[in-house]
Symmetry: C2
Subunit: 124 residues, 2 copies
Amino acid sequence: MLETTDAQADRSQITAPHRELLDEVLDKWSLQVLEELCEQPLRFNELRRAIPAVTQKSLTTTLRRLERNGMVERLVTSTRPVAVEYRITPLGTTLQDLIDALLGWTGANMAKVERARERFDAEA
Amino acid sequence: MLETTDAQADRSQITAPHRELLDEVLDKWSLQVLEELCEQPLRFNELRRAIPAVTQKSLTTTLRRLERNGMVERLVTSTRPVAVEYRITPLGTTLQDLIDALLGWTGANMAKVERARERFDAEA
DNA sequence: CGGAATCCTTTTCGATACTG
DNA sequence: CAGTATCGAAAAGGATTCCG
């Protein structure tokens, strides 16, 4: 049978909200921010230093989105110059294994990918 | 000690090429294309129909990138109107478990994320 | 059928300046 | 310190037209 059963079909039946969530949580900067915060809570400028390539604007956007999605929480200490600490939430930690798996995958397959790229670029 | 050992540090020591690869392979359309091709080889217009929201331009770009990275292969049959079939490569299939895990994660946590969003939007 | 080429609109982005 | 506001440049995306 070529037709899938209902039980088989549900794997490809991913709804748009699910994909949008992955987009928000797995993008370039989110991934790096989550990596850092999984290790330890950090303040805004500590994150900037930990991820040198990120601009202040992008970091703000990324943190707001992660906060909105419940991945990180923002703790404000009302001292003289305010101190803002970002830390991973329990929900955020559920992503850690997946992120590790993704990074593990790149580590394991990067060489093959680069050879594929060379082949592709060569024939063009 | 706050300093990480060399052994601990390598988890966060992800190089830029690794992240770029994830960006190319996990983006919005790539994810859906890989899902489809993991199930069965498809032709260009079959993919368009399987992913109604994608434009011809975006699909072309996505397929070229996946092909360049060795995730899919492009098979041209020189019939009268050419037939082009796309199929997942062995390297591409190594991503399937990760994609399934990602989709599983969204399924398991989507409700929590939506509640987090409501809380966040409410206090704003 | 499977695109490439073009045009145009729309996000996105970095840089800069300013604020509590 | 931790942002917001603004502006211009750059990149991405959609619609349309054309081609082997």
